[in-house]
């Protein structure tokens, strides 16, 4: 049992923290938001240059063969700096599908573009009525000769506006809520029949609603078994949840730090407001919430390697519950302790609150995951 980072992991942390300290302060972030697509190609290239986009891929695929801990380190750093670039969508989710389900040809075709930063991905999964159930898929992929024809609508697809390749969940057989009959398809974003409506999200990222009308892809577009890919989807989404937990920990750390700094300097009644016990206790409770979240983020990271899929799912669901509760408390109280200034767009703190809030509602909120843990009979 060991919670320390290895020497290499420490270097990785220093490297990404250093990169973001230099190129990702709050003012720079505002500029990146104004760039086309809403994020910085220059920063993305820097991430590629430092090898960060290739971390989880095997050396045979041109990557570094890094594990969950490395992703945790990167996501925490991205959370601290409120990074806008599509690491989750491209490296964690896009890369995850290719790593866990991709054929040799698919890997060769797509992984190099991820690693060198030339291509980004988006995961088109959410539907109007699916909410958080990954198996709830109405979009269809009908066999036509050796090809598939995809029809349906996907919503709030992160990086959907900018991605080069979409990873689309679609039903090859069965009814909307059947667990069988779901496939995952690699679809070029410019394929005929795709129509996108892009927009910024509440937290400053970008997403798109995407409709597919008679979109034809070859049989080589299916990742894994086109009739039974739910296990693969759950595995990759679990990894995305773990990554989001780490991102939230980074964002909470920074929110707490900002807030503590603020109440140390903000004066009222002639003294720093941080000298008031009611505020000290609130800040202490924020610390407790953030530490409990960190513990569960570590747990989820290590659970990613659990052999038993049910145990893995419960552990990660539990982590998402803890992170959801903690982020709500830390996020809300950060605003409260900042007072009026915390309500303004110009203060950084509100942007942490917004990102944290959106993390809670991505791939299952607190209530959803609590129900999953309860239905599985708990943790003890």
């Amino acid at each position: 049992m060991d919670f320390d980072l290895s020497e290499e992991q420490r270097l990785l942390k220093e490297s990404i923290d250093g990169l973001l300290t230099d190129s990702y302060d709050f003012e720079q972030r505002k500029k990146y938001m104004q760039e086309k697509g809403g994020w910085s190609k220059a920063v993305w290239s820097k991430l590629a240059e430092q090898g960060l986009l290739g971390l989880p891929f095997t050396e045979a695929d041109g990557g570094f063969g890094a594990g969950g801990v490395e992703t945790m380190i990167v996501m925490e750093a991205l959370g601290k700096a409120l990074v806008l670039e599509p690491y989750l969508a491209t490296v964690v989710i896009g890369g995850g599908f290719l790593r866990h389900g991709g054929s040799a040809e698919q890997k060769a075709a797509h992984i190099p573009g991820i690693i060198d930063g030339s291509k980004t991905f988006a995961f088109a999964q959410l539907e109007k009525n699916s909410r958080y159930d990954l198996f709830d898929v109405a979009t269809t992929a009908k066999k036509k000769g050796s090809a598939y024809v995809i029809d349906g609508e996907k919503f709030v697809v992160l990086n959907g506006e900018n991605a080069d390749t979409l990873i689309v969940t679609a039903r090859t057989k069965g009814e909307r809520r059947d667990r069988n009959g779901i496939g995952v398809f690699l679809v070029p974003a410019n394929a005929k029949g795709i129509s996108k409506k892009g927009y910024p999200t509440q937290d400053g990222l970008h997403a798109a609603d995407i409709s597919f009308t008679g979109v034809e892809v070859g049989s080589d577009a299916a990742i894994g078994n086109p009739e039974d890919a739910l296990d693969l989807i759950e595995r990759v989404v679990d990894e995305a949840r773990v990554a989001l937990c780490a991102e939230a920990v980074g964002a909470m750390d920074e929110s707490l730090k900002e807030t503590v700094e603020y109440i140390k300097t903000r004066k009222q009644f002639g003294v720093a407001i941080g000298s008031f016990q009611s505020l000290q206790h609130r800040a202490s409770d924020m610390f407790v919430a953030a530490e409990q979240a960190r513990s569960m983020s570590m747990f989820a990271t290590m659970a990613g390697d659990f052999a038993d899929a049910k145990e893995r799912a419960s552990a990660i669901a539990a982590a998402k519950v803890q992170i959801g509760k903690s982020l709500k408390f830390v996020g809300q109280q950060s605003i409260q302790l900042h007072g009026g200034i915390g309500m303004t767009m110009e203060a950084k703190i509100g942007h942490y609150f917004k990102r944290l809030t959106m993390i809670e509602n991505t791939f299952g909120d607190t209530e959803y995951h609590l129900r999953r843990v309860a239905d599985a009979g708990g943790l003890i």
Binding site: F3, Q9, V260, Q280, S284, V288, E291, I380
Partner: protein, 396 residues
């Protein structure tokens, strides 16, 4: 980073588990599961079994009878002990005064006291809190005046846990009334059988008698019963209180209680089905289990950190343990109350005589709920813990 225990650690857990299974008196275990108070004899019997095995003072240095275990082994031992459940070694002797004596005491004192702590020939109690000195401990007024080769002690202590059983007390006494609060305090030990010591029990809201008031009226104590240096008692008290950072989370206790909740909730019905099948109850239970899992991980972080980097600088996460640990213990007793609902009401009129088998298991649930309100008060109230985090961790 690696969550797995080593093969040796897993084998150690098995060894510990097997020892408890074969050696904890069954009635002691049952009483603990039901949240009943144990008699002095029951506790001492078990501690002597533990001591005979060489595990009575496991975390002491080897030369005084300790085991030389790693911090992970200590963690496993404590968790298994709490989860079995069996009584933990008497904290006042083993975890509190023992380490003060072997760290600050002289050779005579080590020889005189340490073996008797290990063998439970002396039952120790703690003379810290006073009626006017709760969270503000350093305001204490019990005084020890030097008169020839004796200390003359006058004053009053309170909340003295299990003082009714005690042979010895370690006491914070004011020895320099002119010095600033923390500076004039000394750490003095003496026999509870001394002339002038009076113990008066305090009945707590659960109906039990765990704590006492202790009065000192011109108690004469040999001069050599001072531990360490005169007027340095506050340092030793801080050392003592900082010593048991991880045990306070009581993860094993809460785990055991959660298992019991599940067991009872499968038997007791509500709305024509077992309580455990009620989705709202189940979600509350799961929420508590998740909190406990997070706490367990936080504790493991602290344990692993101590194992690697020594106990010198406390891991900031350790401040979380007391607050969360006590809150979760309280939640588990609330959940038990929810499970039994209206059957929480009957007072334990039969005692533990087996005359009312159907109801015996419910008898201690409300008292245990009442009693557990203490856990967020003792050991530095949770509000004091928040002060500590604010000052020591956040720099406020």
């Amino acid at each position: 980073m690696d969550l797995a225990f080593t093969k040796e650690e897993v084998a150690f857990r098995e060894e510990v588990r097997a020892f408890f299974r074969d050696n904890v008196p069954p009635d002691t275990r049952r009483k603990m599961q039901e949240g009943r108070h144990l008699s002095k004899e029951e506790m001492v019997t078990w501690w002597r079994i533990l001591n005979k095995k060489g595990w009575g003072v496991s975390h002491w240095p080897k030369e005084y009878g300790g085991t030389g275990w790693t911090s992970v082994q200590h963690y496993i031992f404590n968790e298994e002990l709490q989860a079995y459940p069996a009584p933990q070694p008497l904290a006042f002797g083993v975890s509190m005064v023992g380490p003060v004596i072997y760290t600050f005491g002289n050779e005579e004192q080590k020889k005189q006291y340490l073996p008797r702590i290990a063998s439970v020939d002396d039952w120790w109690c703690q003379g810290f809190s006073e009626p006017g000195s709760g969270s503000d401990l350093a305001s204490l007024r019990t005084k020890a005046e030097r008169k020839g080769d004796k200390w003359i002690i006058n004053g009053q202590k309170t909340w003295t846990t299990l003082a009714q059983h005690a042979d010895m007390i370690f006491c914070l006494c004011r020895t320099d009334p002119s010095a600033k609060k923390q500076m004039g305090i000394s750490f003095i030990v003496f026999s509870m059988k001394s002339k002038g010591v009076t113990v008066r029990p305090i009945q707590t809201i659960d109906g039990g008698v765990e704590v006492n008031e202790v009065f000192f009226d011109n108690v004469e104590v040999p001069i050599e019963n001072l531990i360490g240096e005169e007027n340095k008692g506050w340092d030793y008290a801080k050392f003592l209180l900082g010593n048991e950072r991880t045990g306070i989370a009581r993860v094993g206790v809460s785990k055991e209680r959660l298992r019991r909740i599940k067991e009872l909730a499968s038997k007791v019905e509500s709305g024509g089905r077992p309580v455990i099948q009620d989705p709202t109850f189940r979600e509350k239970l799961s929420a508590c289990e998740i909190e406990l899992k997070a706490l367990e991980l936080t504790q493991l972080r602290v344990v692993a950190d101590e194992g690697k980097h020594g106990k010198g600088k406390p891991n900031p996460a350790s401040s979380v343990l007391k607050i969360k640990g006590s809150e979760i213990q309280q939640t588990t007793t609330e959940l038990l109350m929810e499970v039994i609902g209206p059957f929480a009401a009957p007072y334990d009129v039969h005692g533990d005589d087996g005359s009312n088998e159907a109801m015996d298991w419910t008898a201690q649930i409300a008292p245990s709920y009442f009693n557990n309100r203490k856990v967020s008060i003792y050991g530095g109230s949770n509000e004091i813990q928040r002060n500590i985090i604010a000052k020591a961790v956040l720099g406020l």
